[in-house]
């Protein structure tokens, strides 16, 4: 199963903000984390993460800093800002609403899905 482009785009911001809420990180590690969390199903081309991070930085949701770990190469680290945390909380409320609506529209868990709806989903 591949997740559609629009859905990936919509989910990207809350996912990245959520990962940064776990602690500061850098691009490659964020992508690794997304792959691990989604079992490889939520993916986009690696480069696209960076314009997104830059946008979040411009909006003030994250702060960034170039840093060189001892023995490592320089990396640009991103950290969630206070404003970013507020945005994340807000997004979380929105997604919760959507999630609960979808849960009610599609009754039953994924295990006892009704045939009619399974068909409808293709």
């Amino acid at each position: 199963m591949r997740i559609g482009k629009d859905l990936v785009a919509a989910a990207a911001t809350p996912v990245v903000l959520g990962i940064l809420a776990e602690g500061e990180s850098y691009g490659y590690a964020i992508l690794q984390r997304i792959t691990a969390l989604s079992g490889g199903e939520l993916e986009w081309s690696d480069g696209m993460l960076y314009p997104l991070l830059h946008r979040l930085e411009r909006l003030g949701h994250v702060d960034s800093e170039w840093r060189q770990e001892p023995g490592g190469r320089p990396r640009k680290h991103y950290r969630l800002s206070a404003q970013g945390a507020a945005t994340l909380a807000d997004q979380r409320r929105q997604w919760t609403v959507i999630g609960s609506v979808l849960d009610q529209v599609w009754p039953g868990g994924p295990d006892d899905r009704q045939p009619r709806i399974a068909l409808g989903l293709g």
Partner: protein, 468 residues
């Protein structure tokens, strides 16, 4: 797809960086970040047992299509594309031919040299005016200002000494002719242009054109026989004119604003602005515009060809309307003496539209609608001009051969010859019989003809027409 196994990972990444740096939307810091990512990815893949070059290929592939990526960066950093045009001169140091011939250190402080030369031009202009009077300045405008432009080119291109000596000799010769010929009138008057004799005005115009082209020889670094450097100078001239006009408009507006603001507190700065700021600014702007063209060469799309694309259709419509009007009314024949001068301007515009369209055209592309439109434009211009020429020549006896009339007739014939052959080549090109290179070479090859006619205006016209 495979890469040369002898290349190390660092070499591969260096060439990848080279490629990425050509994208305007990506800054060096962005590429650093992507490189750091790429190296992490390569390390992980190499750890899983892949060879470095294989890991590199996969890493690059996973970064995504470069076009999409740079588009995504451009969306996020749209301001950056614009800012680069104005501020970031580093971006001008590209990897193409001209960039390679100019060392970076020359670019970095190029502005300082251009400004110094601009100030020099302004001072020279003002000093001549104070020492010799305004009419001398007017007649010698090219001899006073253009050496500074030539010096700027000389500084940038480092042409051979022989070229510089030749160009200097041309400046001296023109200067001598303009000042030693005993022109009628023009002396001891303040209102300049109108008081000069016709031959003096023609010689002035000729000197501007001739010395501009001679200055181009310095810009070409002495390689003035090459089609490529000639075309580069044509491009330079078009861009320079656009920048100069822009500077003039803004400078004029600012001067007006200054005068108005000071007038509101009862201080009259009009004389100061009129006698010092405008002349010095006009001379200095020649150098600033030249610097701008060089600095922005690879950052901004050339403007002159864009204007050409916009105005060629309109100009073609105008010419066709004129043909119809001329045929219906048949009164071009009764036109006044100014008609010929007006038609010189029409032909100059036609040649300009043609040349700048040629200068921006990708030679390898097959002929398209724009090339066909140019055929129509050229044909219309030729038809109208032949009608006018026939009428004027038929009535030569009535008007006589004054200096003005001979000069404009000569220019008309020169441009007509250019356009006639250019139209022939263009038709051939549209029918795919003639390669585009010949269309281009015809225009660059024609430059010496203009130079020759301008030189005739400067050196031969005054004695032939008795300095009247």
């Amino acid at each position: 797809m495979s890469t040369d196994p002898t290349q190390s990972l660092d070499e591969l990444i260096a060439s990848w960086r080279d490629w990425m740096e050509r994208r305007d939307a990506l800054s060096t810091a962005d590429i650093d970040e992507l490189e750091s990512h790429l190296r992490d990815r390569v390390d992980a893949l190499a750890g899983a047992g892949l060879a470095d070059d294989e890991a590199f290929l996969i890493g690059v592939k996973r970064l995504g299509s470069m076009d999409e990526l740079s588009r995504e960066y451009a969306v996020e950093h749209s301001g950056r594309l614009w800012k680069q045009l104005v501020l970031d001169d580093g971006a001008a140091e590209g990897a193409d031919a001209t960039g390679a011939t100019i060392p970076v250190r020359l670019r970095a402080n190029g502005l300082a040299v251009a400004l110094a030369l601009g100030v020099g031009a302004g001072v020279a202009l003002k000093a001549t005016e104070l020492l010799a009077g305004p009419d001398v300045v007017f007649r010698n405008i090219a001899v006073i200002v253009l050496p500074f432009l030539a010096a700027w080119f000389a500084w940038r291109r480092r042409p051979p000494v022989a070229t510089l000596i030749g160009v200097a000799a041309a400046f001296v010769l023109v200067g001598l002719a303009l000042n030693l010929y005993p022109f009628d009138g023009g002396s001891s008057t303040v209102t300049v242009a109108m008081q000069d004799s016709a031959t003096a005005v023609l010689a002035t115009i000729g000197s501007v054109v001739a010395l501009w082209l001679v200055t181009g020889i310095v810009d070409a670094g002495g390689a003035w026989r090459s089609d490529r450097t000639r075309m580069d100078f044509i491009r330079f001239s078009g861009e320079w004119l656009v920048y100069y006009v822009l500077i003039a408009i803004v400078g004029g507006a600012l001067s007006g604003l200054t005068v108005a603001v000071f007038a509101s507190i009862q201080v009259d700065v009009m004389p100061f602005v009129g006698e010092w700021v405008l002349p010095c600014g006009a001379a200095g702007a020649v150098l600033v515009a030249a610097w701008l063209v060089g600095a922005k060469q690879r950052v901004i799309e050339n403007i002159a060809p864009v204007l050409t694309k916009v105005f060629t259709p309109l100009f073609t419509l105008m010419m066709l309307a004129l043909v119809v009007a001329a045929v219906l009314q048949w009164n071009l024949v009764d036109g006044s003496r100014e008609l010929l001068i007006a038609f010189d301007l029409v032909l100059v515009v036609a040649v300009g539209l043609l040349v700048y369209a040629v200068s921006a055209r990708e030679p390898a592309l097959p002929p398209g609608w724009f090339d066909r439109l140019q055929v129509v434009m050229l044909a219309a211009a030729l038809v109208v001009d032949v009608i006018v020429l026939a009428a004027m020549l038929a009535r030569t006896g009535e008007f006589g051969f004054s200096a003005n009339k001979t000069a404009s007739l000569g220019l008309n014939l020169i441009l007509l010859a250019n356009l006639a052959w250019a139209a022939w080549l263009q038709v051939g090109f549209v029918r795919r019989r003639v390669p585009f290179g010949r269309v281009e070479r015809w225009q660059t090859g024609y430059l010496p003809v203009y130079l020759g006619w301008a030189a005739i205006l400067v050196f031969l016209f005054p004695p032939v027409f008795g300095f009247a």
